[in-house]
């Protein structure tokens, strides 16, 4: 029983990691209706920026805030310089550009910061909360941060006109222009916000998995799966999906099929869920009238 609880809790912690990256994917999807494969690498790169600042002696929260700001700018610049000129010519052309960005960020990080894993500090106490042996304080803190980001994102999309405009622009850019939305800017803004959310995820993930250029490679797949299982148009769903995938994967690996095939089986289950519920567990089913 003790081991079972430990598996579930450690699954929740890894699930929190998937959830935080999934939120960045939801953000960019809401703003552009695309899934950015380079999102994880961008977050990784921003985390290196944070590491550089911390290494230079910045206080943690100053570096934290500065990284978010830098990530935002970085996202906006990428959209303006790289994505916009490709424009709406073809989704696959944009996907190829994403792949290009992915390898560029990965390679640059390795080149500049080397591939040696680096410890990344946590803002939370080193001692586990309440002396438990299951979860570190950072694990709990990171989940808390993810939930805060989730609440902010939800409020942003639900209650602000800008959030509404962003969703509208992603769904139907032509109509969005016709109600006066500057679609170019909502997209750039979406990129900026997604990068900012991603950088928070990066800074929360790095203390758990260590900072290295391949930090996000495995996580992105799970985050992608979590976002789709939960429903990519729904931040709550994405976070729930993250936790679900994290716990499911642990329990399958520990009790059902062993560790060798846990990724495979987890993915088969996820695809199975999508076949039965194509919009995800918590996604909105879109009704179309012809």
């Amino acid at each position: 029983m003790d081991a079972f609880i430990a598996q579930v809790l450690s699954g929740l912690v890894t699930g929190g990691i998937y959830a935080s990256v999934a939120l960045a994917l939801v953000m960019i999807y809401q703003a552009t209706h695309l899934v950015n494969f380079a999102q994880g690498e961008l977050a990784m790169f921003c985390t290196y920026l944070a590491w550089t600042m911390l290494d230079a002696g910045f206080p943690y929260w100053a570096a934290f805030a500065a990284t978010i700001a830098l990530a935002f700018v970085c996202g906006v610049v990428i959209e303006r310089v790289v994505i916009r000129p490709i424009g709406e010519s073809s989704v696959l052309a944009v996907v190829v550009v994403f792949i290009g960005l992915l390898v560029i960020f990965n390679s640059l990080a390795g080149w500049i910061f080397t591939y040696t894993v680096k410890p990344f500090p946590s803002p939370f106490p080193a001692e586990p909360l309440f002396g438990n042996h299951y979860v570190s304080s950072h694990g709990i803190g990171a989940i808390g941060v993810t939930l805060v980001v989730l609440a902010l994102l939800y409020a942003f999309f639900r209650f602000t006109s800008l959030g509404l405009a962003m969703r509208a622009a992603a769904q139907n850019p032509v109509s969005a222009r016709l109600v006066g939305i500057r679609v170019g800017w909502t997209r750039a803004l979406g990129w900026g916000l997604a990068a900012a959310v991603g950088s928070i995820a990066g800074m929360m993930v790095a203390p758990t998995v260590y900072l290295d250029p391949n930090m996000m490679a495995g996580i992105l797949l799970y985050a992608f799966a979590a976002a789709l299982v939960g429903g990519i148009d729904n931040p709550w769903g994405a976070v729930a999906g993250g936790f679900l995938v994290g716990v499911l994967e642990n329990l399958l690996g520990a009790y059902v099929i062993g560790t060798e095939l846990k990724l495979t089986v987890a993915l088969v289950l996820i695809v199975g869920v999508l076949v039965i519920r194509p919009s995800g567990l918590f996604g909105r089913v879109t009704v179309k009238r012809v």
Binding site: V13, T114, T116, L263
Partner: protein, 401 residues
């Protein structure tokens, strides 16, 4: 030290004798001329294993140093190091390019078991030396079937057997849990361990768990292994995962006897990230000095290495154990060249590589020597156990052959 220098002198004399003997007749195969020796190397500069590309960068820096000092017997070393992205098909393509198009004398330190497996047969069919491959798989020391292929580092199975021997000697009733990477390297080391435990393996090993390099953490595996009630943990993981495992073992309050494989014995890239306090008591085998280990701070060999790094590879980190590794391999190759003298044929390269006798290197642990023979294609076979005391590795026991 006395015997050491005596041996070195003997080797030197031997080398000079060989050199003078062959001065009369210069013999070359493709890639070698009076002024240059052209060799090739295949490294994963891109792709999932690009961390190892550092070895290739070190080689280039080291041969630069050799060339700056006048080369070997007046010949400069030209290293063509190419990228295969850790992909076997690309490795085949690159090997063919190096051998057929660039006409290198041989291929040196191609990296990774899958890539080397892919070119193993080709190199031997072409009779081109496939020298000091950068992988610890056991199959590289098979002079009967593959006379043109030779490894360098202690192979994984040997390492596994040493852990087995130590466990049997110190804890005959151990309950062993194994964490290993689900690939050739993990399985090879595990096989060595099981072979070493012999018929007791089935009884002593109570739990096994694998991880994939795409896994974010190994938390779940460690929790499962702890749940098996094991009191010994064999940690067969690459640096990042080894560090994750060390930290998790400590954090969940598990206190097994923890054997850490040599691949991840680096203080800088594993124990520091894991936390030095959490690493106390780890046991590993070693053959090389660790650059961040304070006990070697005044060691002449280490100082030489540090000076080399500062001059030729200033952006390389001492904490990256791959640098020290690449340095020692490059030095071994230079020794082979010295022994070859002016007979730079492929056959002679293999002959000389297979006649390294008690050769010592500045970064190898005291007492560890390189020995090869026409029937022994494993250059380094001796290792020593060491335990981490919270600050540095402390050697214990004897050098194990």
């Amino acid at each position: 030290m006395k015997t050491g220098s005596l041996l070195q002198a003997t080797v030197l004399i031997g080398a000079i004798a060989l050199a003078t003997a062959s001065f009369a007749q210069k013999k070359y195969d493709p890639g070698a001329t009076d002024t240059e020796i052209k060799i090739g190397s295949i490294m994963p500069y891109s792709g999932p294993a690009s961390a190892y590309g550092q070895i290739g960068k070190l080689h280039m820096a080291y041969f630069q140093k050799i060339n700056d000092e006048g080369g070997i017997n007046g010949r400069k070393i030209k290293l063509l190091s190419v990228d295969d992205g850790y992909s076997p098909p690309k490795a085949v393509e690159m090997a063919r390019r190096l051998v057929e198009q660039d006409e290198v004398l041989f291929i040196f330190q191609s990296l990774g078991t899958p890539s080397n497996s892919a070119i193993h047969k080709y190199m031997n069919a072409k009779k081109v030396p496939h020298l000091f491959v950068a992988t610890g798989a056991t199959k590289w020391g098979d002079p009967k079937d593959f006379p043109w292929t030779m490894g360098w580092q202690p192979n994984y199975q040997t390492e596994g057997r040493i852990y087995a021997k130590d466990i049997l000697a110190t804890r005959p009733n151990a309950k062993i849990a194994v964490l290993y990477q689900n690939d050739d390297y993990g399985k090879d080391l595990l096989k060595g361990l099981k072979d070493g435990l012999g018929d007791k393996a089935g009884r002593l090993i109570v739990a096994e768990a694998t991880y994939e390099v795409s896994d974010p953490t190994v938390d779940s595996q460690i929790v499962s292994l702890k749940g098996s009630g094991a009191d010994v943990l064999i940690n067969i993981a690459t640096p990042k995962f080894a560090a994750l495992a060390i930290r998790k073992v400590h954090d969940i309050g598990w206190k097994p006897v923890h054997y850490l494989n040599n691949v991840s014995a680096s203080v800088g890239s594993v124990l520091v990230p894991a936390g030095l306090d959490k690493s106390v008591g780890l046991i590993t085998v070693a053959y090389q000095k660790d650059a961040l280990d304070t006990q070697w701070a005044n060691d002449p060999g280490m100082k030489e290495f540090v000076a080399f790094m500062a001059k030729y590879l200033p952006d390389g980190k001492l904490s990256d154990a791959l640098n020290a590794y690449g340095y020692s391999v490059a030095q071994t190759l230079v020794q082979v060249f010295k022994q070859c003298g002016n007979d730079l044929t492929r056959a002679n390269i293999m002959r000389q590589a297979a006649s390294l006798k008690d050769f010592q290197l500045p970064l190898l642990l005291p007492g560890i020597k390189i020995n090869t023979s026409p029937t022994d294609f494993y250059p380094i076979e001796s290792l020593q156990l060491q335990r981490f005391d919270g600050k540095q590795w402390v050697l214990f026991g004897k050098v194990i052959e």
